[in-house]
């Protein structure tokens, strides 16, 4: 409170070093970060501004500002393609895939983190190595398996949401398991061992002790799983039909006519991005914390 008459406020809270950073560093920081922010925001600006333009603006020469500001594209997008249906499909698929994937990853990571058993190394190495499979390699076989399961058991996987959910949840599983192993390892064993000594079963110890302590890590892998499922294009374009089409395929519906409704494409892109970007930015703190304790050690 005594420093009321300080002319320059150089409050460098949590400065890395007591010394002030040299000018060279400060200028580097300003320039590089400005350039990066510009690079990142350029498409965002194009997306937002173009979505507020009438059609003739986006069909002719590019203009930085709309000739007339209109929100019409935001009403038209629902008519041009059944966007609402795609939205619901994407929500169901991505939501279910996330819940299942994270649950399964929690069980697996708990086993690997807390137990010694035969085949542990084989399991983790195998799960991790599936990351390097080119999706294209098992797209066709998977398609055949789904068709065959459908023909022989009557369980419709091909073209159904269920098939897509199964596929997507395994896409995010390796990363989620790997990250949660790291996270669970950073939780002191004494905590859940105490619960075991108190007579908890191992599964109850997991849910009552380990999971609450690992919330940031679990949120982080949930965000990752959801984003993986929400943005996947290849399998969605092969494995869905008209009724189960998701946003990633449906969005291309604006661009099949001779005249591309670019203003609607941009409006639709924005609409499908908003929920995930807002969710991500709200949870980014958890994501960084989760990565810090889990993946990056």
């Amino acid at each position: 409170m005594s420093s009321l008459t300080r002319p320059t406020r150089t409050t460098r809270s949590r400065a890395r070093s007591p010394m002030a950073a040299p000018r060279s560093f400060l200028w580097t920081r300003r320039i590089v970060l400005t350039l990066l922010a510009g690079f990142v925001l350029l498409p965002v600006y194009v997306m937002v501004s173009s979505s507020l333009k009438p059609l003739q603006d986006v069909s002719g020469k590019f203009q930085w500002l709309p000739s007339t500001l209109t929100v019409q594209p935001y009403f038209d997008i629902w008519e041009t393609v059944p966007l609402a249906k795609y939205f619901v499909n994407s929500l169901i698929v991505a939501g279910s895939a996330t819940v299942l994937s994270v649950t399964i990853a929690v069980f697996s990571a708990y086993a690997v983190s807390r137990y010694r058993f035969r085949g542990k190394r084989v399991f983790t190495v195998t799960v991790l190595s599936t990351q390097m499979f080119p999706g294209i390699l098992f797209l066709l076989p998977l398609f055949l398996i789904f068709v065959n399961i459908g023909n022989s058991t009557g369980v419709a996987l091909y073209g159904s949401r269920g098939g897509l959910i199964l596929t997507y949840l395994t896409f995010s599983l390796p990363f989620s398991i790997w990250m949660l192993i790291g996270y669970f390892d950073s939780i002191p064993r004494d905590l859940d061992e105490a619960a075991l000594v108190d007579g908890c079963g191992p599964v109850r110890a997991l849910f009552q002790v380990v999971v609450p302590a690992a919330v940031p890590g679990i949120v982080a892998v949930s965000v990752y799983s959801f984003m993986t499922a929400w943005g996947e294009v290849l399998f969605a374009s092969v494995m869905t039909n008209d009724a189960t089409r998701t946003l990633s395929v449906g969005l291309q519906g604006y661009a099949t006519q001779n005249d591309v409704y670019w203003n609607q494409v941009m409006a639709a892109s924005l609409v499908v991005s908003v929920p995930i970007v807002v969710g991500f930015l709200l949870l980014q703190r958890y994501l960084v914390a989760g990565l810090t304790a889990g993946a990056v050690k």
């Binding site: 460098r12 400065a15 890395r16 070093s17 007591p18 950073a21 060279s24 990066l36 922010a37 990142v40 925001l41 194009v46 986006v58 020469k61 590019f62 399964i104 086993a111 983190s113 137990y115 010694r116 058993f117 190394r121 195998t126 599936t130 390097m132 499979f133 999706g135 294209i136 390699l137 098992f138 066709l140 076989p141 055949l144 398996i145 199964l166 596929t167 395994t170 599983l173 398991i177 064993r189 075991l196 191992p202 984003m227 943005g231 290849l234 374009s237 946003l247 969005l251 670019w262 892109s269 924005l270 499908v272 991005s273 991500f280 994501l287 960084v288 990565l291 993946a295 990056v296 050690k297």
Partner: protein, 337 residues
């Protein structure tokens, strides 16, 4: 990884044996938990769902894919692929015969993918490192910038890439408007999504989309560098640039080892970006291998050859990864798992 950096703030050192067992749970010998080892069945039960799903979605399809690569599988056998005639190594011969059009195109596509991956991963890593280090210290606006930088990572691929596709349109795109109309750099509006510029376009979009992940991982890695190191260094008179060179970058090495591998694998296999940017058939200069195989399988209906190409790609990635892990065998995958 220096052995001194094991001070994990999360570990409550209230117990008498206060050694942090935070890392390497598999390696560190477990203390006094005989009761856990005796219950032999439980871990397997916990792993069962993951194993079943991996089998169904990854392992079995991969085996089928390998089997299919030895068969002459065209659209006539799609409903009954078991009846497709065996063709031995024919598909592989076709795929690697660089004097014939198919093999030549595959080799070209492979080279394009290597160039693309090299620049895309390199630039993404560079931007991610720069941003993470420059945002390490707090200053006004840091939180806002951090949020902005993560936007490309959060945006769904198709929404972001289709915006880039719009920007790169020849007649009504932003890029040509700036380069040609406003700055006059190019004599006439260029094509960006076909022809020789398409690879640059693809790299730019890929870097834009990929660098925030590098930034995120490196930012997390920076949090684990103990402050005492910097304090000690500044007492010894090291300036900020020296601190970055002698402390920050070496400390990030373990993170980088994993990060570069993951970026490499994701970028090399990337399908979504070129698919949304160029559609079902990419221009020759930006003909990434995943799109190329997709084309060979689904557009020309030659699944046997497509599978053989996929298997060759997988072998290549396995070899590269194995060599990489051998040379950086202190990476997590090598030791921790």
């Amino acid at each position: 990884m220096t052995a001194t950096v094991t001070t994990d703030p999360k570990v409550d050192k209230s117990t008498s044996r206060g050694t942090s067992r935070g890392t390497g749970g598999a390696r560190g010998r477990l203390p006094r938990v005989p009761d856990r080892i005796r219950r032999g069945g439980l871990p397997y039960l916990l792993l069962l769902p993951a194993v079943l799903l991996e089998l169904l979605i990854h392992i079995i399809p991969m085996v089928i894919g390998i089997v299919m690569s030895f068969r002459q599988l065209t659209q006539f056998f799609i409903n009954n692929w078991g009846a497709a005639p065996w063709s031995g190594l024919d598909n592989y011969r076709i795929a690697v015969d660089i004097d014939a059009p198919i093999g030549e195109a595959l080799l070209h596509s492979f080279f394009v993918t290597c160039v693309f991956t090299f620049f895309s991963v390199g630039l993404a890593w560079l931007l991610g490192t720069a941003a993470a280090i420059l945002l390490q210290e707090s200053f006004r606006g840091r939180g806002v910038l951090r949020t902005i930088f993560l936007v490309p990572y959060a945006l769904p691929v198709y929404a972001a890439v289709i915006t880039w596709a719009f920007m790169f349109q020849r007649d009504n795109g932003m890029i040509n408007h700036v380069l040609h109309d406003q700055l006059g750099i190019t004599d006439e509006p260029s094509f960006w999504l076909i022809g020789e510029n398409s690879l640059y376009t693809l790299i730019i979009v890929s870097v834009w989309k990929g660098w925030p992940f590098a930034f995120l991982m490196l930012m997390a890695g920076l949090q684990n560098i103990p402050r005492e190191l910097y304090e000690a260094a500044s007492i010894d008179g090291a300036g900020i640039w020296q601190q970055i060179r002698r402390i920050t970058l070496p400390s990030l090495r373990p993170v980088n080892q994993v990060l570069v591998l993951v970026l490499f694998l994701w970028t090399f296999n990337d399908f979504n970006t070129p698919f949304v940017l160029f559609g079902k058939s990419a221009p020759e200069n930006a003909d990434l291998i995943s799109i190329h195989i997709y084309q060979s399988s689904f557009v020309t209906w030659n699944f046997g050859t497509g599978s053989a190409m996929s298997v060759l790609l997988l072998l290549f990635l396995l070899i590269v990864t194995a060599v990489y892990l051998f040379f950086t065998s202190r990476g997590r995958k090598g030791s921790d798992v």
